[in-house]
């Protein structure tokens, strides 16, 4: 079965992307750190450490880039490819983001039920009815354990006044 959401990269390309991202990060940090007070030689200011670190990161990133360029370009085979992403991963991240967005507004019980329903429906082979009941049961049990037994303050959302 073909999975959606997968990116397949050659090892060299993946290494180059990694090194480039680090180089961009170091450049960004360097520019911001440049604007911070640098103090004196005997009393370095708040900008010295970030400036030194971003400079060092830039040099290391360049080293990684050179190392990546030096890697041999080999023909595509499963062993030589870096596979990033998977439909389950994107579903999980979307579910987590959705959970975070509605968590305080809808309350723990509802958001946790929806979150678990989405993930169980995606990962398991259970029927929709079973998924919903399992998710609701999971949400209620976790609420009882964390909120009632351990005293964790979880948002009640709609149920605030009940």
């Amino acid at each position: 079965m073909k999975l959606w959401g997968q990116v397949r990269l050659q090892v060299r390309t993946a290494e180059l992307i990694g090194a480039t991202l680090l180089l961009l990060l170091s450049l960004g940090a360097f520019v911001v750190a440049w604007g911070m007070p640098d103090g004196s030689l005997s009393a370095p200011g708040p900008g010295v450490f970030p400036l030194g670190l971003s400079g060092a990161l830039g040099i290391v990133s360049l080293g990684l880039m050179i190392r990546a360029i030096g890697l041999s370009q080999v023909r595509d085979s499963d062993e030589t490819l870096v596979t990033i992403g998977h439909q389950q991963i994107w579903i999980t991240i979307a579910a987590l983001i959705g959970f975070a967005l509605i968590f305080e507004w809808a309350g723990y019980l509802l958001s946790a039920t929806l979150f678990l329903s989405l993930l169980l429906a995606s990962f398991s082979t259970l029927s929709r009815t079973k998924v919903f009941f399992a998710a609701a049961l999971g949400a209620i049990l976790s609420w009882l354990f964390f909120a009632k037994l351990l005293g964790v303050n979880l948002p009640r959302g709609f149920f605030e006044n009940f």
Binding site: A43, A56, L64, L119
Partner: protein
Amino acid sequence: MIDYLSAGFGLAFRPDNLLYCFIGCLWGTVVGMLPGLGPLAGLTLLLPLTYGLEPTSAVIMLAGIFYGAMYGGSTTSILLRIPGEAASVITCIDGYEMAKRGRAGPALVVAGVGSFVGGTVSVIGLMLFAPLLATVMLQVGPAAEFVLMLFALLVMSLISSGPMLKTMAMMLVGLLIGTIGLDPITAFPRFTFGTIELSDGINFISMALGLFGVSEILLNLENISSVKPITPNFRSLIPKWVDIRDSAPAVGRGSLIGFVFGFVPGISHVISTFVSYAVEKRLSKHPEQFGHGAIAGVAGPETANNATTGSALIPLLVLGIPAIPATAILLSALMIHGVQPGPELISKHPEIFWGLIASMYIGNAVLLVLNLPLVGIFVNLLRTPYAYLAPTVLLVCVIGIYSVSASVIELFVMIAFGLIGYLLRKLKFDAAPLLLAVVLGDRMEVSFRRALVISDGDYWGLLKGGASKIFVCALLLLLLLQGVAWLLGYRKKMADEAS
């Protein structure tokens, strides 16, 4: 010392602390056993729940997870040929071979007893060496402290199994992340971009949970599969006399190797198992049996990885420097409770130090009981489909973060770091040095700047103290050894074996 230890036992035997010790050991065994959830993920998952506890109780529970995971990791290695965590990789070789030949019982018993002996020897070492080292370290100034932290980070990059440049890059990113927020000396805002949320820096718990909890789940989602473990019965657990005779010397040597390697920053618990295996194979009268079910190949490494636990705590408790990522979580737990680990910890907070020591003695005994007669119950856990386990763990992550911060923003930080952690792993970057650097960065900078003020801007002054010279000499020696190892091709061989 006896008085302090008995006071420590008094604390550790308190019913609530016994319960926390048991919970820590149990959770440690479970996360060590479940492939994909190691001690780091286990610690980060339960860390938020320790906020309401006393510092001693929190440390007792978290330390239980740390050494409990070392016990649990061996079970899946022996029964499934899947290492529960990195330090049990080498156990797969002979442990699984023994299980295939119907000798899973003796393999589990030897691994369990070896772990108990290694863990106990390690606690004795911790108890004897930590107070001595603390006395010495009280004389050390900020210059030596800075050099020591630099030394720890450089050693880690030198001995890491992955490419050195990648480890260094991760450390530098970690140190940069550590600078986010108000400058610790002048309160100048750095990388906050005008937001109040970033003025305290990035929440360590959200970051750690994202990097090691969420990313671990994401990675495992790529390969959801069910497993069929070999389940030994209780009678088969009893080893023969020949098993005891063959494994006893390996347990002794493993204890020593593990304890010594525990001091080394980085992946000492993993390296110690490789070294122990190599030593046992070299000393064996039948080296040809290794790889085909040699009991010493299980006893040595399993003892060694548990023997690192006590010595790995020495740099944390005495120097305030986490030698391995798991102890970085413990450091964070202590700091959250307002306890600053370092040379003064033993004198200022003896209840934490001696309570922890006493609980580790108890915990090792608890783990022996948990891991041998109850092995069948734990094995059943492995049958839990990942389709149910993954959502449950993610839900615990969300609750954990919210219980600490009561802020949805921290949930987004966790998700972002979860994605970053996943991408780092796919691109073969180790996130552990990043976490260690975040923890050390702040103090490293303060030490550096204070030392420069004291030496009036003399940068060579950083290297003038006796302690600084020792660390620099040790670093140069290590560099020399690395150079020799590189020339002989040993480093590449180790990296290949580790991967």
